[in-house]
């Protein structure tokens, strides 16, 4: 690995990874360490503006996300900030787009930044990447394959990306950019990395379909039915595990899998696991190191049976 690729990146965990998605934070940090990739947490980071702020005042959301980018670039000197949460990743990308294309957003951000007493973030100051980009770019499939200690070859995986990783397309100019780039219609970075770790990837037609997250408080039955459908489709595709890369989707799948049984009597057995947890196991980390015990979906017995935990 060359020096540029090994360059540390700013790490923006966001609020979900301090709460319900803590195992994603734990496994992301553990995988980074195992791969020799340095993460430096953004100092005094704030909410990205998801989801409530954006629905009420999108320009305020743009400002909130811009503050995170301002700290990471202007104060800490980074040129990349990595956000594993799809909501944070999406919002930072959206803010970047707004600040490059909308004069009103720039004006609001300038005014609020001045009031808050920090440098105004300028579009182009830092590149926002996802945890998938981070590992794909810094390590790649070949690099990952050479570091695998326990192949995932006994595990069939359906990769679930959710809706925010690729939509709307115009805020992700680096995607759909030819060979090697991520696709917004058929994302594959998670498929590529987990296949490199030895897993059998099943065809999963609902990989970017709605998880029902937006309905979860106001219309829980709709969320549960959407999740039942996702779980059934994964099982019909032959998957043992659904790999996730979004804490909202992950929590929704886990919680509504339980609710599906209680509310509708629908039982499913597919396990729900963050892709970083799967990579961590493949890199020889323990179940505890990747936080399997923090998931609601109990997969420990499954991974023990497969010799991975």
């Amino acid at each position: 690995m060359n020096e540029v690729k090994n360059k540390p990146v700013a790490y923006y965990p966001g609020c979900a990874l301090e709460g319900s998605g803590h195992s994603y934070d734990r496994s992301t940090r553990a995988v980074g360490k195992a791969l020799g990739l340095d993460l430096v947490e953004v100092k005094d980071w704030n909410c990205c503006g998801a989801m409530e702020v954006k629905n009420i005042d999108p320009k305020l959301q743009t400002y909130l996300s811009s503050r995170v980018m301002s700290i990471a670039s202007d104060d800490m000197g980074f040129d990349q900030v990595m956000a594993p949460c799809n909501g944070c990743y999406h919002n930072l990308k959206k803010a970047e787009y707004d600040l490059a294309n909308d004069a009103d957003s720039v004006a609001v951000t300038e005014r609020l930044s001045e009031k808050a007493g920090h440098a105004t973030y300028k579009a182009g100051g830092i590149e926002t990447i996802h945890a998938l980009d981070w590992i794909k770019d810094k390590i790649g499939e070949d690099g990952l394959q050479s570091r695998i200690k326990k192949s995932l070859n006994a595990v069939k995986i359906a990769n679930y990306y959710g809706c925010m990783y690729t939509r709307p397309r115009h805020i992700f100019p680096e995607k759909d950019a030819g060979p090697g780039s991520e696709s917004t219609s058929q994302p594959h970075f998670m498929d590529d990395l987990l296949a490199a770790a030895g897993a059998e990837i099943v065809e999963y037609p609902l990989k970017t379909a709605c998880c029902g997250g937006a309905h979860t408080l106001s219309d829980s039955d709709t969320s549960t039915k959407l999740v039942i459908n996702l779980l059934r489709a994964a099982e019909a595709a032959g998957a043992d595990v659904i790999a996730t890369e979004c804490p909202t989707c992950h929590s929704g799948l886990e919680m509504h899998q339980v609710r599906a049984e209680k509310r509708f009597g629908v039982e499913t057995s597919v396990k729900i696991v963050y892709f970083t947890q799967l990579l961590g196991l493949a890199l020889g980390l323990s179940a505890r190191e990747v936080g399997l015990h923090e998931n609601i979906s109990d997969s420990l017995g499954f991974f023990k049976e497969k010799g991975l935990a």
Binding site: D57, D98, V108, H170, C210, T222
Partner: protein, 148 residues
Amino acid sequence: MRPLDAIEARIEALAASPDAAAAAAELLTLGEEVLEHWICAKDEAPTQAKKEGFRLLALHRQGAKDVPSFNACRETCRELVYHHNLIIMQPGHPETAKRLRMAGLVANHLYLFVRGKLEESQLGEFCCSSKPVRSDAAGDNIGEQRGI
């Protein structure tokens, strides 16, 4: 256009149909009817046009106009077309039954997503639309109105 409950029941019934080709064609029609519900709810007339050879895709495009979050079911529509094509073009394939089951699950996801949005149309705006360049329509700049 059948009522939504009837569409849901029919999607489920078709999953185990012995005539996979007919069932795949009907699932596509059911998908169109689901989208017709959405478009009618917006006081528009559902298009009869086709996009890439399929009315379902033209209806989706119509339904997503001015509602970016409706693109969250774009790939679901395309997957329904894809599975329909697999079944129609390879009728003797050993995985036809599995493909039909998957087509049914994809159609059901489209139904559930649209039904959810019909009930609470503003929900879901956070996750897949973002509306990057907003107009100054009422309510868009609440922060500014409050002087922050």
